[in-house]
Amino acid sequence: MKNKNSQVAVEYLIMLGIVLLVFSVMWGRVSQVAQLTRVNVRISNAETYLEKLKTNIDLVNFYGEPTKIEMIAYVPDGISFVNLSNNEIILGVETTAGQTIMGVKTRANLSGILPYKRGTYRVLIKAVGDEVNLSY
């Protein structure tokens, strides 16, 4: 009886060991792929954020004052800064290899402030004179 019990215990341990081994290999591989994908998705989201802003800013500028648009924008994580400089929006994105700096040029000069912390925001894009004002 004792022998049978220990045999069952050993069999159980062997099976559990194999299952754990398979899962740990799988987990390691999945987390590696996830990390690489996360960086590429972050870059892609940041590019989308910029392009969406540019399209709406140019549209508001085309129609002029008092046009305004409320844009729903998703800001990904890992954005280190957003700068508005004349008619440029410059964005810093953290990658595994350092910081990537990207940007777009708009038709109008810009003023105001843009979000850079992760989340979904309502960004108000408003034509003010010759300028476009951004706020959230």
Partner: protein
């Protein structure tokens, strides 16, 4: 003599019966084992098959991986590092407008950045090849490496200096 033969046969039959009994018991044990753990073996086999299909058991460096670039990019099949220490990269202008490449640097292992300062203009959608020679080789042919690359450039008539950084991972060729 006959009596002796009969006794011998009887003993032989008994021995055979015992052998059959032991074999039957072993087969029963094996069957019970399969019935108890069969489901687990089946699941492991399916998972192992799926992992093999996904190339999990092959080295993670078998296929080239490029991550993190934006604007001016190095695509996954556009780089190679030789065991002699030569790194060849192909830059692709994915910025949808003309870019002016100012500088390309490679973080070579633990050593300081190695820069290639050949400045040039790259039209939208076009590519250019950069070669870095005399880098510290990450190892012999087939060994894995990860190199961080930074590309400094300007876009169209924008005044900002942009930076596209990313990692390249593959096996030495």
């Amino acid at each position: 003599m006959n009596q002796h033969k009969k006794t011998y046969l009887k003993k032989l039959r008994l021995l055979l019966n015992q052998v059959i009994l032991i074999m039957t018991k072993k087969a029963q044990a094996a069957l019970e084992y399969l019935m108890t753990y069969g489901w687990a073996i089946l699941i492991i086999a399916i998972i192992a098959g799926a992992l093999y299909y996904m190339n999990v058991f092959s080295s993670s460096c078998d296929s080239p991986i490029s991550t993190g670039f934006s604007g001016v990019e190095i695509l996954s099949n556009d780089f190679a590092f030789t065991s002699e220490g030569d790194l060849e990269i192909i830059l692709t202008n994915a910025a949808a407008e003309t870019v002016h490449i100012l500088n390309v640097t490679v973080q070579n292992g633990t050593s300081t950045d190695v820069a290639n300062t050949t400045a040039l203009t790259l039209d939208a959608g076009t590519t250019i090849t950069y070669t870095f020679s005399g880098l510290t080789s990450p190892g012999s042919k087939g060994s894995c490496y990860t190199e961080d690359v930074a590309i400094y450039y300007t876009r169209g008539d924008l005044s900002t200096i942009f930076k596209s950084t990313g990692s390249l991972r593959h096996a030495v060729q």
